[in-house]
Amino acid sequence: MKIDNRRLFTYPVLADGRDDYKTCKFTADVVSSFDAANNLRLEVSCQTNCAEINRLIANGDAEYLLHVECPSTIYRGVTARSAKNFSCTIPLDCVRKELDITAFVVLRRDVKNFFCDDWNEDFSGLTFSLSKGSPLAYRRFQPLILPDDADIFKNVGSIFSVYKRPPDAEKFFKPNLEDDKIKIGLNEDDYAVYRRHCDNPTMQPILNAMIILPTLVYVFEELKQPNAIDNHGSKPWFLSIKAAYRRLNIDLMEYLLREEKTSLELAQEIMNLPLTKALESIAHVFDAEDS
């Protein structure tokens, strides 16, 4: 949604570059960052010194709203809050290249006799009856340029290799971190089932949650050990994970040492909600069978 100062409104709207209000201002800032779960996080802070608009917000008649649209993908999201400071999270796999972002104050319900004594003389003596959804103030931001993801088609599972363990080995599945890839040994029977389904896109999230998730928990536990860098620091799988975090401006080892998150949380974070994806796939499989 592109709103600019050429757009005509039938009532006063508060924005930079418009002269509908004499002295009042609406300011808004958006700070963007990326989290380890491949999300874009927008921290929004809005403020206005217009007493009438602030009164409408306090009464619940109006609210702050952040409108985000991606011209390259068919993505459009809104986050509306009564608080001046709020945040919203946008999965990076929904958007590409750039985002159009606009902050608003909008009416949540119809309002009669809207009036402010700071209005320009053109509106003197007038009041307005406005409908729900009418913008009272806005700030349009410069498009937010997103980093180009060169690996958009890369198979994320490539740091893992699943192999068949010898028939006399124990039945448990076992990760091995000693090679270039994280190797996951399955017993003969499990491996046969895995091979049958591993190329099926619907089954992949389910297999990831069953096999990759616990393996990554094991990996993060291992990386929290004192000699982790000495043992694994030069291995390609470690460098890949480290690079994934670096793209998010996170130093992996520092992040691990802070111990703010458990290994289970870290694994879910880097896999971007594997359980949710697996359950969606299960639902998809059963829905397909039912229909």
């Binding site: 709203l65 993505y75 896109p201 619907t202």
Partner: protein, 260 residues
């Protein structure tokens, strides 16, 4: 079945050389000519997917019915794509020149063209860029490329919670399909699922009241009404019912479209 995306340099080569090579799209029944034109294999493997085929126009299926059916097939089989991947020209150029090369040619009747001599070069070059690539950076580009259109239409109308995942698409109907999809998907507000549901409620109203959904006579005018309201209000603040009301009000006094 292996799906591939196209290398960036191959993509640039084909688009830059289009005025000289466009006749290949009209005359060549398979894509083996690409290696020579690009000077290399233009494809990079993305991943394997279970085999599936697209339908092509024939005596019993017109292009609208073909697109309608292919939306379901493409989205059902490629639903794992992220939106960001599905907005990448390399993917759709790869599919349009790769596994679906023959389908795209037949969808647009290139297989029946006698010689390239009788074609309007400017128009044909532009059409090929639209149909085999993502020409431009807008939502229109996603609708003009055949395979991208199928995926994005499936994506927008897919209903996870419904046993028939394509129930919403069924309401749109196969007749005049391209125009209806183009009119709908190029309206920015349908990207908000709540507002799209308003459009779906309008389609349901039409179905229940025996009104045939026709792009020119009722769908496009009704969508225009919503856009007009969007000039004054933030549409995202409206409910699905309110969007549907705007659209229904637009058609309520119109005569029914004759089926014949």
């Amino acid at each position: 079945m292996e799906i591939c995306f196209m290398k960036s340099n191959a993509l640039d080569t084909l688009k830059n050389d289009m005025p000289q090579i466009f006749d290949k799209y009209l005359t060549e029944r398979d894509n083996s000519w690409l290696v020579e034109v690009c000077g290399e294999n233009p494809f990079v493997k993305f991943r394997d997917v279970p085999d599936f085929k697209l339908v092509v126009p024939n005596e019993t299926l017109n292009v609208g019915e073909v697109d309608f059916e292919n939306c379901k097939r493409v989205y059902e089989n490629l639903h794992f794509l992220t939106d960001a991947q599905a907005a990448d020209e390399r993917l759709w150029a790869g599919l349009s020149h790769g596994v679906f090369y023959d389908c795209v040619r037949r969808r647009y009747g290139y297989d029946t063209k006698e010689t390239p001599a009788d074609v309007d070069v400017y128009k044909t070059v532009k059409e090929i860029k639209n149909r085999f690539f993502l020409n431009g950076n807008s939502q229109e580009a996603l609708v003009k490329n055949m395979t991208a259109r199928c995926w994005w239409t499936g994506r927008v109308f897919y209903d996870e919670g419904n046993r028939n995942h394509f129930a919403k698409l069924d309401l749109l109907g196969a007749k005049d399909f391209y125009t209806k999809v183009f009119s709908t998907l190029t309206r920015g507000f349908v990207a908000n699922p709540k507002l799209l549901n308003g459009v779906v409620k309008f389609l349901l109203y039409c179905r229940r009241n025996g009104i045939e959904v026709n792009a020119d006579k009722n769908l496009r005018p009704a969508l225009k009404e919503v856009n007009k309201v969007g000039g004054a209000l933030i549409l995202d603040c409206l409910t699905a019912d309110e969007v549907a009301e705007i659209m229904i009000a637009c058609v309520k006094n119109q005569p029914k479209v004759d089926d014949t």
